[in-house]
């Protein structure tokens, strides 16, 4: 005869150590847990509100420059090191963890127009208004040694920008033409021109490393191939492009920061239509930099704010501003994709969090799980009007806010006018042009 008894396996309810969590037997029967949608909605709402409560993105301001910060460069090997060039020809090297300047160089007379680091992080290059290209050691000189460049190249014309190749000891400068230099030589190994206007900036493609993009003041963006020593294609936009930035995860995508307050993301194989037009700025966009994950980019604008855009969205997800921050001239996203630096007119470099409400430091696993859950909830209910409203709400300075309102009204008026024109003219004579196509003037082969 077998006697049946209640028996439990102690493994199911006894924890191994005191530090373990108590095992809680759960019943997932949905009838026991009703109202799942409404409960999750409330959780999402709370998560969204908390996100706004904790959104404090500003971390630090690095002051020390005696003129506006004109260019920034990040160190390829060290997250804590940042280089900046100012409008008085001074270059400073900063330590972000200490938030201090660790080195100061009077590199040029006049503006430091461009600064870039070598891919190995041992040296960096600067170009200035004094028609020189200088190479500097990354390490500070020893005690008693003079601060001197490794090499100095004297050019014939002013260089306005510089960028280093991602793998090879070569760099490119721009000015009257795009020059490709070998580090060992004092003359360019090849120079490429197309048109006669001065070129603002030049950028190497980080993936297909022989490709370059440049933008000139005659409103065009030109692509080059270094191996074939020839330009590839040119696209002319409505207004001048200030700079471009390549997507570090997608070889053919780049984003152009334009004077017409917009940013344009292009697929370089099809330049006639930008993939996305990013519009939110209220003034000329001066600089753009991609997040190393390639999912987002940050743009600096003349309207005294920086904005973060997702690559596939036309509207920004975040805007950063402070009362003291003037026209933002340069912006960089750090290599660990957690922080953003921006250099502005009023001589300061500011450090921001890329995710405004993110908690810094080590997270406990439960904390992380809770955060991930909250994130998912926010994503899930993002279309609900109340949540959307709270998530999108940002405080803006009054001047910027009024500027944006004004532009909205102007845009609306333009749209209305076009509608009216279409309404009162022969059908088909006023064609509908999509926003994307509107800004591209021509593509030159």
């Amino acid at each position: 005869m077998k006697v049946k008894m209640l028996s439990r396996n102690p493994d199911n309810y006894v924890r191994e150590t005191k530090l373990d969590l108590q095992r809680v037997p759960r019943n997932y029967d949905p009838t026991l847990h009703p109202f799942e949608v409404s409960r999750e909605y409330v959780r999402a709402l709370n998560a969204t509100k908390l996100e706004r409560v904790f959104a404090k993105p500003f971390l630090a301001s690095l002051d020390g420059h005696r003129d506006g910060v004109n260019c920034l460069a990040k160190h390829p090997k060290s997250l804590a090191t940042v280089l900046s060039g100012a409008c008085d020809g001074e270059v400073r090297v900063w330590n972000l963890t200490k938030r201090k300047c660790i080195r100061t160089i009077q590199a040029h007379e006049g503006f430091v127009r461009g600064i870039c680091t070598r891919f190995c992080g041992t040296s960096f290059f600067t170009v200035g208004d004094d028609k020189t290209v200088k190479q500097w050691k990354m390490d500070a000189p020893g005690y008693g040694e003079e601060e001197e460049p490794l090499h100095t190249i004297l050019g014939k014309t002013v260089y306005t920008g510089i960028d280093h190749h991602w793998k090879d000891p070569a760099f490119a400068t721009c000015g009257q033409q795009v020059d490709i230099w070998d580090e060992q030589r004092t003359s360019p190994i090849c120079s490429m021109t197309w048109g006669f206007d001065s070129i603002n900036s030049v950028k190497f493609n980080p993936i297909e490393t022989s490709l370059l993009g440049s933008c000139a003041s005659d409103r065009n963006i030109v692509l080059y191939d270094m191996r074939q020593a020839t330009p590839l294609k040119k696209v002319i936009l409505d207004m001048r492009t200030n700079t471009i930035c390549w997507n570090p995860m997608e070889a053919f995508t780049f984003t152009a920061a334009n004077e017409d307050y917009n940013l344009y993301t292009f697929d370089m194989r099809a330049l006639d239509t930008p993939v996305m037009v990013h519009m939110d700025h209220a003034s000329a966009v001066l600089d753009v930099d991609y997040s190393p994950t390639g999912r987002e980019f940050v743009s600096a604008s003349f309207d005294k704010s920086i904005r973060i855009f997702p690559v596939d969205k036309s509207r920004s997800r975040e805007v950063y501003h402070t009362r003291r921050m003037q026209h933002v001239i340069c912006v960089r996203w750090t290599a660990d994709s957690k922080y953003i630096m921006c250099g502005s007119d009023e001589m300061n470099i500011r450090l921001w969090k890329a995710n405004a409400s993110e908690k810094l430091g080590v997270l406990a696993s439960r904390e992380r799980a809770a955060q991930e859950y909250n994130q998912k909830l926010k994503e899930k209910f993002q279309h609900h009007p109340n949540i959307k409203r709270i998530a999108r709400h940002r405080h803006l300075p009054k001047s910027l806010y009024s500027q944006i309102q004004e532009q909205r009204i102007m845009r609306e008026a333009r749209r209305r006018k076009e509608l009216n024109r279409r309404k009162h003219s022969r059908p088909g004579s006023v064609p509908v042009v999509s926003e994307r196509k509107k800004h591209v003037v021509a593509v030159v082969k």
């Binding site: 847990h33 194989r269 609900h384």
Partner: protein
Amino acid sequence: MKAAEQSATRVAEGLLALSQQEELVDLPNHALSASEDEGDSDEERKHQKLLESIGSLDGKKRWKLAERSEACLKVSEFNVSSEGSGEKLLLLDLLEPSKTSSSLAAVKKQLSRVKSKKAVELPLNKEEVERIHREVAFNKTSQTLSKWDPIVVKNRQAEQLVFPLEKEQPDFAPIEHVLSGWKARTPLEQEVFNLLCKNKQPLTDPLLTPMEKASLKAMSLEEAKMRRAELQRARALQSYYEARARREKKIKSKKYHKIVKKGKVKKALKEFEQLQKVNPAAALEELEKIEKARMMERMSLKHQNSGKWAKSKAIMAKYDLEARQAMQEQLAKNKELTQKLQVVSESEEENGAEEGELVPDAVNEIQMCAAGPNPWMLRNCNSDANDEIQKDPEQPPEPVVQEFCEREEDETLGTEEEILLREFEERRSLRKRSELSQNAEPVGSQATKDSSTKEVLAELKALTQKLNQKNCQSQKPKVSSVRTTCQVQKQECALEEEEPLLLQRPERAQTLEDLEELGHEEYSETKEIPGLVLEGNQTERAPNNHTDTPKGKKKKEQMIDLQNLLSTKSPSVKSLAVPTSVEELEDEEEKHQKQIIKEAFAGDNVIRDFLKEKEEAVKASKPKDVDLTLPGWGEWGGIGLKPSAKKRRRFLIKAPEGPPRKDKNLPNVIISEKRNIHAAAHQVRVLPYPFTHHQQFERTVQTPIGSTWNTQRAFQKLTTPKVVTKPGHIIKPIKAEDVGYHSSSRSDLSVIQSNPKQSSRHRKKQLKKNSID
């Protein structure tokens, strides 16, 4: 000299201009008359002479210009003939001289074929060329770029991307490389180095010393093979053995095991005997061993009834003869094993008695157990006794007597175990008796079945009986105080007995059945008896029962069982009686509660209210008629005057009948189809972008992702973030090598080769350098 030269050059220039003019003139009319031509040539010759003479003034340089081998009419001073520059040379002209010779026919044919082909076009201008170059280059690059398409798409659609993408490989240099560049510098190091060298220790390659290497080499191949074979055999044997053991272990047959065991014992005995003959000392040792085993056995109580098997057998023994036998066997064995202790003086007498009486084991055991406190033993003896009784049913009184003695002992000791034991024993005796009675009645072979049905019936009766008793008790609350106290005392035991009680019920019921026959008077009498018993007059009780015994088997049974029943029953009755009163109280309370509720909600008619509400809702939802009558328009107006019915009818716009209400056929539901403004603030108005149908969207919203509704695993899966970045890690741009492509961008400038071999060599060099430094 200089002046002369200058004048000469001027003259020459003038001449050149002239000749060019002439050429220009000449161009159109190409075929001039010979005479004119000759005249012209005369002049030319003169000029030439002049020029030559001028040129000779200057030395060699000028002379060279005049030297010419071309057949031409006009020659300029730049040594280029400008003759016939405008006209094209025709193939025919070349062929003219060869017309006559027929040997060149093949060549002529070829030439004529060539004639049909067109001439090469002029090269394009620079811009055009550049444009073409650009286009070609662009196509090429876009082709190379499109290899990234699948990766980009994959990354965009990835559920999760963890950055940095490339796996970090720790860069370990083998120790040999590190050591190869190292040199002993300090004296201590050198000393150590020397020592190592002397002992032939490895310096660079730390794996094996020369000695070790030699020893490794020493073992020959054959030897190694032999050893291996040996090992293999041993392993195979072991596995066979294991398999066999397993197989044997799996055999379920008990008989087999028994035989095996017996065989083993026999073998051991034989061996032992042999040993005795051959080596007495060893035999002694063996004997000691056996003794020890026996002692262990005694200690472990293995063959007593405490084992699992023994217990199961004890339960089965009731029904199964084999089991009973097995138990007996075991007990016998136990006895055998524990025999030695009984040699001690105390048990000797009993043994003697046993021998003297020559009664079966069971009886002896009972006596033994009566002395010792082991209930298990006792019970088993009892069962044995029962068995024996069953075998010969002509000896009924004996067990009864046994019972009584036991009972006396039990009550004096009064331990739990004894009570349990008594239980068993009682049950057994009862069973036996019932069997006996069945035997007495001519039921036949199907007695067991009948008994079972009987039992069921009896149970029912017992229940009714119980109820009756309860009633009796409630009716007659005159139970003596002494008795109740006793009952309380007994309760503890009774509670423990509860389970056996339940089991016992059928038998008891049978007795009750008989009890009915006896009637109530007897019942009351018997009731009083336990009271006496509990007061301590057990001796009295025993004779009392004895007096009953002559009445017949049945009656005696009844009496015993009655006592038993009542003694056990009374507490249970009490325990039942208490809650009944409570229940009554509860009932009253409930009633009271209900009354209160009724009073409180006396005026409420919920259903009517609901219907009213629904009616109102229906009315409210109905579209209303629009009355456009203007009082006083077209007639007299004022207080107390109403517009005429005709007018009202005319200006009343009837609202169209709306769609039927959804709750029309649902009597107890109100469905409101109005949009709730408060809820609307939380509802999505437009279908968001990636969704194509509202059902999709609804489904995504309705699937919960929280851990309240999902298991931990599912929760983790549902909440994985799309992009994970590690803090403090540099994320480098995606590389072709990471994805599995070869980099297409190897420029002429590249110094670092992507060749892994070379790079590794390079690294080695670097390492060397570092170590030297």
